[in-house]
Subunit: 138 residues, 3 copies
């Protein structure tokens, strides 16, 4: 069974949810896979992956505010080598997770109508993040 | 290597954890796969997948109460187009995630004794939810 | 396409994050897979898997304290058959999740420089935990 890997580099402007669904879809189309499995893996501990609603921009803003609430800055962390956003970034990366797998059916990822694939940047400063993709299928 | 996909439609009665382990197990048996990997993917942003204890019904009730606490309603969300349960549903879906992968060993999913596979419905109203399954193996 | 499974048994000393990246890497090397996908699955509902920073020990301590905050003990749970750490353990396992998938590129898991693979033990007492690994690739 053929399989392929690809690394996506995603620039961020600090804390944000950056959609890259179309990058994955375009790459998938080049592989010719019609039935299979796509896996995405974020190579960082202060950024992560999540599936989220891709229609209303307010959802992204509420999601980021919620992460500030669940894993707040300045909560007396022992680890703050790189500033107040350091440890909360690790916690928020844990919250959403590093990997995502999506079946491929009829040549497309089986995403629902409102689902988009997002890189969640948890640091305050801009970064360039790497997501490794793998697809197996035929 | 053979692989197969299947879509499960899971009716819910509003906020709840709906076990569908046996549906997946029965489908897996029909594929004849004895060693491989099952991946499940939830096609929604207000429902999600989780592995949970399948013995004590109180665990499900405590889990649902915990989600109400971690991602509460009426927390001043900007996005409330569809009512007070709308944005919390997106947050709780993020909390548990859209995809799950389970190795297949000796013809069965390698679940532990107490593990069940659940669709988590995060909206107040009943829905029909779609979970796409993919298995590769031989 | 060749594939392989393996069960890792990980002893814990009560609530802790136990890194086992090198166990997975050593097993992967024996399989000879150079391009593919590794999936890890935790067979428990009171222990789970997470990717975390592997450099600063304080990160692990902050992470454990955060879990105590997000899913506290003695929060009026209905399910407490096995003591005050029982239900929080299920909640924390839900928070981080049971499965992780990591692409294999050039014979190695595509982990970032600072990423380690951890079993998160959520019970107070020591346990022996099972993680089932699956790799497909060639």
């Amino acid at each position: 069974m053929p399989h392929h890997t690809q690394t996506f580099t995603i620039p961020t402007s600090g804390k944000s949810l950056v959609e890259f669904t179309s990058d994955v879809a375009q790459w998938l189309a080049t592989t010719g896979v019609t039935t299979g499995l796509v896996t995405l893996f974020c190579r960082h501990t202060s950024a992560s992956l999540t599936i989220n609603e891709n229609a209303a921009p307010a959802v992204k803003r509420d999601m980021l505010r919620w992460m500030e609430m669940v894993a707040p800055e300045n909560a007396g962390y022992e680890h703050d080598d790189e500033g107040p956003d350091d440890m909360p970034a690790h916690l928020r990366a844990t919250l959403t997770g590093a990997s995502l797998s999506i079946p491929v059916v009829d040549g497309r990822m089986a995403l629902g109508t409102w689902q988009g694939i997002y890189l969640a940047e948890h640091r305050s400063q801009p970064h360039r993040r790497q997501v490794v993709a793998h697809v197996m299928g035929d």
